[in-house]
Symmetry: C2
Subunit: 159 residues, 2 copies
Amino acid sequence: MATIGFRQHDHGQCIATALSQAEAKCAEQKLQFTPVRRRVLEILLDKHRAMGAYDILDILSAEGMGSQPPVVYRALDFLVQHGFVHRIERLNAYTACAHPTHDHVPAFLVCRECKAVAETETELTQGRLGSAADKTGFRIEKIVVEAEGLCPACAGARP
Amino acid sequence: MATIGFRQHDHGQCIATALSQAEAKCAEQKLQFTPVRRRVLEILLDKHRAMGAYDILDILSAEGMGSQPPVVYRALDFLVQHGFVHRIERLNAYTACAHPTHDHVPAFLVCRECKAVAETETELTQGRLGSAADKTGFRIEKIVVEAEGLCPACAGARP
DNA sequence: ACCCACGACGTTATAACATATCAAGCGAAA
DNA sequence: TTTCGCTTGATATGTTATAACGTCGTGGGT
Ligand SMILES: [Zn+2]
Ligand SMILES: [Zn+2]
Ligand SMILES: [Zn+2]
Ligand SMILES: [Zn+2]
């Protein structure tokens, strides 16, 4: 599985697989995969793009699952914490992880028009950033890599 | 000039140099280096860390240079646009560029405790991210690379 | 059975970050 | 001098995120 997001795929299958993987991982690690958490992940998988917390909240509240910000932020915190969802810093938004079965340092291609997101992985950690950290004694705990640009669809629509 | 930010330096000189470089570049490109813009850059250079827009605004307004958000956001837009300042997405904050004399793709080490920021450059653009972009036809326009962790001072204080 | 600790959730309020819009000032170009 | 473009002033509003505090249900120890 590599860069998905700008390619066709069986989306129903894609959602079902990801949900059951999440369920399995939570069972294994004794995490509570509660209805709200499950539904938030499902929404993110379904839309398959970066969504703002309040967009998600609108959907939740329309379904009677809580209508205040903390509801969705808590669910997102949980999902991010356990690697089911990534936060896109550039957009202050969230997207379901494309390869939740193994640990990784994600990198993203984010379309500035339609907000579609493709996730890949990065080798980084070494390179200039790593050596700069070493030289100064900085201890890296997390790395954010996000590329912004135009996806094929949006580039085609307005070349 | 490389990674500064976690090292000692003659800070008065550092500020003076950066300001006069900015002044020169604006003159050359017929940009207006207005008092507000100059002062905002100066504040960022002085603090030498990531600052939120409203932190800057507090200082400006204490000095009678405008007290509404648009004042500082307009100045920041200008400074970012022309490469004098970078936005740190991870913090929704801003920091003065450490090497404003040439174009570059900046990468940052950001201390999660004290918000100190060290800027280095990244080779990236190639690598897995670039090839993922090529494969899918995504056109990259901008790249954000930010590492979060503990700076030497904060790691020392609480090891 | 009882108590309690813990984690999740409900709710209110507020903090923090950012933009839309319209009007006024001001210097340079025409 | 008129016009134009850019900067700024001012008000209002939109968007994202967290603090604070109470409640509820589950599960473990007694
Ligand atoms: Zn991922
Ligand atoms: Zn697009
Ligand atoms: Zn820079
Ligand atoms: Zn620090």
